[in-house]
């Protein structure tokens, strides 16, 4: 139980380890479909027919039922067309959507935070249909081959699609997904000799890619603007070989008063695979002044900043200026407990997209060499230390020596874990905050400066080579 004197900010971590009704059944149907993709649908056998029947059965009674049932039948006969693959991807997404909703209800209960306003985004905008069709055709090839049938020929089919899509910002979501996915598949060729297959992951990427080829699916329209004080909690960094994104999680206090809400500000860019570590911050830094503010521990004052229905700010430096110093831990202790969570758009209802800012303190640290475990009020929560970016002052050792932690609660492979964004730890009897994104705006740390110099050199060489060799 939560001690009464902790106020409303304490998380009910005990709820996170309890089982969720219906979760295993939904995931069993997902797993059945994921196994189908391992051997592919070129010459499906009885095992694959059974897997397809299972996912069709799981969406019986939903609006998808008829389409999915037809798709499963065609696919079982080795005669699935692209529309059938899209229907199967939709069924899988719907099942994981229900898993997401059940888990989100659980995290809401655990954090005790209010739910944000609901809304339904209207699809808008036009995307070049031929590129979307090319992507769908490549993904359909993958489904026929199966992961075990992967070879360089089929994987390399993505390259020209990705190259054509990347320059168009409207296609960036699908392009970035396909680029990262194809790189993994290429590194895993030939599929026949793979020791193990990341079944859930590749089926996730495949089905999400499929759905993003539907015109308008990637559009999350701006629904308004916000004005007020932005109090950063921390930075979440995501990367694959040729792309990086930083997302700042923050509490927004509206200038006109009223309830504060959780928002995100994102900046992303494609990159050469040799730009890593501190080089990632260097690429992102010039395009969002917020990264420097986070590094300096400052708030920002926003004026008419565009925001989506999902609480994503569409950042533009013109709508922001640096505000007063704001300690992330003060924000986490005081402002986070009453900030409303955001609405989640239908396509984003997936457990991997469930990212919940939380504040933990008063825990005991346990675990071993492989894992750090924070136990508060008798409830253990495993720390995902692998997600801490290497170019920053936060380390797994610092988490293990910490007394308070701002993190992101995530669910993967059957359990909740917390990704640390910042911790408070004691150095020479003084409490010191360490942030995963501490070097986002630059650093004077000795190791950090060395990493920055190495990254600058790498980009300088590439730009010099590009200057001489490109456009000749």
């Amino acid at each position: 139980m939560v001690p009464a004197d902790q106020g409303g900010g304490m998380m009910r971590a005990d709820l996170l380890s309890e089982s969720v009704d219906g979760l295993d059944e939904a995931l069993a149907a997902v797993d059945a479909f994921d196994r189908v993709l391992v051997t592919g649908l070129l010459r499906p056998g009885p095992a694959q027919a059974a897997g397809l029947a299972e996912i069709a059965r799981a969406v019986t009674g939903t609006p998808l039922a008829a389409k999915v049932s037809e798709a499963a039948e065609k696919a079982s006969a080795g005669a699935a067309g692209e529309d059938h693959f899209v229907a199967l991807a939709a069924a899988r997404a719907a099942l994981l959507g229900s898993v997401h909703d059940a888990l989100a209800a659980r995290t809401e209960e655990a954090t005790g935070r209010p739910r944000g306003e609901q809304g339904t985004p209207e699809p808008a905008g036009q995307q070049p249909a031929n590129l979307l069709a090319a992507a769908r055709s490549w993904l359909s090839d993958l489904a026929r081959r199966g992961w075990r049938g992967l070879d360089h020929d089929v994987v390399s089919g993505a390259a020209h699609v990705v190259s054509a899509m990347l320059p168009d910002p409207g296609l960036r979501r699908l392009a970035t997904l396909l680029d990262g996915f194809a790189a993994e598949l290429a590194a895993s060729c030939p599929g026949a000799t793979l020791e193990r297959v990341p079944e859930r992951r590749w089926a996730d990427l495949w089905s999400r890619g499929m759905l993003l080829t539907l015109p308008g699916a990637a559009q999350v329209p701006v629904t308004g603007t916000v004005t007020g004080r932005l109090l950063p909690l921390g930075v979440d960094l995501q990367e694959h070989a040729t792309a990086v994104q930083a997302q700042v999680h923050a509490v927004l206090e509206p200038a006109e008063g009223g309830a504060s809400r959780l928002v995100r500000a994102s900046v992303s860019v494609p990159k050469p695979d040799t730009v890593v570590g501190a080089g990632l911050w260097q690429l992102l830094r010039p395009h969002m002044s917020l990264l420097a503010a986070v590094g300096e521990g400052c708030s920002m004052d926003l004026t008419d900043m565009p925001v989506t229905v999902e609480g994503d700010l569409i950042w533009s430096d013109a709508h922001a200026r640096q505000g007063a110093p704001a300690d992330a831990f003060a924000t986490a202790r005081v402002a986070l407990p009453t900030a409303a969570d955001s609405y989640v758009a239908p396509l984003d209802r997936h457990p991997a997209r469930l990212v919940v800012p939380v504040f933990l303190e008063g825990y005991a640290v346990g675990g071993d060499d492989d894992a750090v475990v924070l136990t508060a009020a008798g409830s253990p929560l495993v720390v995902d230390t692998d997600r801490i970016p290497s170019a920053g002052p936060l380390t797994p050792e610092a988490v293990a020596a910490s007394g308070a932690c701002i993190g992101l609660l995530r669910w993967d492979a059957g359990s909740f874990r917390v990704q640390p964004l910042a911790v408070e730890t004691t150095v020479r009897r003084k409490v010191v905050p360490l942030h995963a994104g501490g070097w986002a705006g630059g650093t004077t740390d000795k190791t950090g400066v060395r990493a920055e110099k190495a990254a600058t050199d790498a980009v300088t060489v590439l730009r010099e080579r590009a200057g001489r060799l490109l456009r000749k």
Partner: protein, 167 residues
């Protein structure tokens, strides 16, 4: 099924390790070859396109204008040696060995060991037909620096967490 197979964010490729790019600006394990681009030591305008094939270790080296490399007759030239060294820095020796199907026995391998094993198998000189596609892949790689950033969110990146584990 194990935890890894049921994970949406299972790590499939370890992060590339940072390395100096001046000598070998581009290296990749792709198309059944270790391949890349090596800067000429004497002419700043010239680069060499070098490659070693998986399994046979058939090697090729020529300039981007398709002139053969004088050093790559009979055995690996210095460009190919540099390519192997930098590949080991970027991807780690074990991934390079596994990809090229180099039998290193049980011991810890380094770039020198890998190069030694390949040379001792007396590999054949391959043709330089791959030079053009490898060079164009290098240009495509450089073009990533020219792409505009965006502040619209990419929810798909949730599937690509960083990893502290390196190759």
């Amino acid at each position: 099924m194990s935890h890894w197979e049921r994970s949406s964010t299972a790590r499939v490729i370890p992060s590339a390790r940072p390395r100096k790019l001046a000598k070998v600006p581009f290296v990749e394990l792709a198309d059944g070859r270790l391949q890349g681009v090596v800067s000429s030591g004497s002419d700043i305008e010239r680069v060499y396109v070098s490659s070693v094939a998986v399994g046979t270790f058939a090697f090729a080296c020529s300039t981007n204008n398709n002139r053969p490399c004088g050093g790559a007759r009979g055995s690996f030239c210095n460009h190919i040696r540099a390519l192997v060294t930098e590949a080991v820095l970027q991807y780690g020796a074990s991934r390079v060995a596994r990809y090229l199907k180099i039998d290193t026995g049980t011991g810890e391998a380094d770039a020198q060991t890998l190069t030694g094993v390949m040379i001792n198998s007396r590999p054949a000189q391959g043709d330089t037909t791959a030079a053009a596609p490898v060079f164009s892949r290098f240009l495509r790689h450089l073009a990533y620096l020219e792409l505009a950033p965006t502040t619209a969110p990419l929810p798909e990146m949730q599937w690509f967490p960083p990893t502290r584990a390196v190759a």
